[in-house]
Symmetry: C2
Amino acid sequence: MNDLLIKNVRVMDGAPTEILIRDGRIAQIGAELDGGDAAVEDAGGRIALPGMAEAHTHLDKSLLGYPWYHNDVGGGNLMAMIDNERQMKKRLGLDPHIQSMRHALQTAAFGATMIRSHVDVDTTGGLRALEGVMETAEKLSDVVEIQTVAFPQSGLMISPGTAELLDEAMKMGADLMGGLDPCGVDHDPKGHLDTIFGLAEKHGKGIDIHLHEHGELGAFSMEQILDRAEALGMKGMLTVSHAFCLGIPDPARVDPLLERLGALEASIMTTAPASSPAPLVKQMAQHGIRFGAGNDGIQDTWGPYGNGDMLERAKFVGLRSNLRSDAEMHMALDVCAGGGAKAMGLERREVKLGAPGDLVIVEGVSVAHAIVLHAPRKLVVKAGKVTARDGATLMIAP
Amino acid sequence: MNDLLIKNVRVMDGAPTEILIRDGRIAQIGAELDGGDAAVEDAGGRIALPGMAEAHTHLDKSLLGYPWYHNDVGGGNLMAMIDNERQMKKRLGLDPHIQSMRHALQTAAFGATMIRSHVDVDTTGGLRALEGVMETAEKLSDVVEIQTVAFPQSGLMISPGTAELLDEAMKMGADLMGGLDPCGVDHDPKGHLDTIFGLAEKHGKGIDIHLHEHGELGAFSMEQILDRAEALGMKGMLTVSHAFCLGIPDPARVDPLLERLGALEASIMTTAPASSPAPLVKQMAQHGIRFGAGNDGIQDTWGPYGNGDMLERAKFVGLRSNLRSDAEMHMALDVCAGGGAKAMGLERREVKLGAPGDLVIVEGVSVAHAIVLHAPRKLVVKAGKVTARDGATLMIAP
């Protein structure tokens, strides 16, 4: 087993101590521990944070390793961006396995020990992207736990043959059924939602649907989603990603949606976007909604932003939700670490006895300081095994 | 004079070339220049960006150099934050000159060659902060051009004696008259605005007023501000900082304000906040409004964020305004560099013949890439003189 004794380490905002990980879990925290034959690391007084959760990304899309992509498309027109991407992926001959290896390892180097990736399923690429990302998930199982979502990026009802491919994707072992803007992209909310909820039920899996639709349109789609999840009794099995509509500034409109999401123990995933209304940290906490965060795609045809750093993402979460005090900064971290893991349906990561031995050792006087610095990670540990050191994974990306 | 020949350097997105700065200005750009006795630097193929403009900050407030500040106050209550700060500044015995030296040099190390700083004037600290920042401005005149704004942070009408101090501040040589939320803080828009416009007129200076007020309240205050600026013919002399109210999503309400601001050749300064409605890049460009950006206070009692990096700020500007294409990323940079200089009433910084010899040499394949990387600056040049190298200024902060 990968037993590990970390000396001279601070648990979150605490004083220096030692942490012993045995059999993949935090076995002891205290002074002068007897590690036996465990490997030993000296954290140099740095902070131990829980392993982080990249809860919304697209491992098959990044252009990492390619020459820098010059973007002529910009934002604003969703369908133009979708079409441009499908064409560029073909022209560049992106290999989803190689790209997802590069992307996942970079994300792991920043301290993520869990990743949920949406993976394109469409009639151009078929199931090739899913095969590639699943191969990556297997190869990296000691480094980062990867969940896959079968994602109809190019639409479902507007793209005949996609439903059959999604069915196939679930048979291959995709962890969740995906979906996308049932009004905005498919123009057929009933058809879209009946199809993906039907497939989720058939395969006994949860749903993670992209919902970019703003304002009333998004609230309408959210209601259609909730109706189906409630009817199927999908407690703890529904995720809505982005959910910009929860940023509608009218409690009378939004609170009923929040209450229904809370009752379903649903998850919301956010990028903490600066340019859009969005779900907020305290709003989610007040309604008992699980809340995770992610980079979304990084450095791809959609835009130049993102790098896989979930500690920098905690900064974005803090900025988006106007979190400033130390206590509030802990909430921002939690969305990107323990709380994000819970939103992914996984065990909460924490730096405490009995918790999974996933840790990130990083520079900082306090959690708040570590977040705003987001210095290169000194050490990343997955289930007691060192996976990254000084900002780079031990495993080299292809 | 500080003549400088920079070899193997790329002008924005261009191919490697050479740049010669003579007598403080860009004298030649081209291959194999004859620099004569100019100092020579090799940029190693990196990009030259224009010197950057930190157009809204508070040099007297940062806690840089102090132990990390544990924040128990959080956001949400503006008056509580103002009161906490005034108390903490006293308790910690902050020296405005030393703090502004630290803050300004860190900002310069990131490539800013211009800074506009609001400086607290209140009945507790009197004019001490302004004296300290003015001393810094003088000491750093070869490194960064610092403008000062006499800023009634603790209110004006609610704090008798402040108006007299502001008058004194303008006599001392503050560059601009400041102001703050005439309704939200002072509860007396007429009294507040009549006072600061009166002082600006008396001393023949421009105005830069903080306006955090949201929605209709902010729009009302903006109208009161515009009425006075128009009446006094303050073309090119009005700046409104933050101006969250311009983010009201109703063109019928906002467009008339934008048109009046454009006609006044007014400036808007933003932090590109993620948690608030805000003025946007294309909106400002469409109405011919000068647009600058800033970090606001960095690592102070208000919050843990900010570091003085105007290239990272360009990333925030891009994220806030949903800019993605290469052409759009150039717009984000401009807000933080040439356009920001113009918003400060200074000459536009550009990398072209005849422009001021303020340059930043930085890693990146393109401007967009340089923004999202915001790697430590290789070299910062002010009027042909190297002021920072590898992320640190040559002058050491106290």
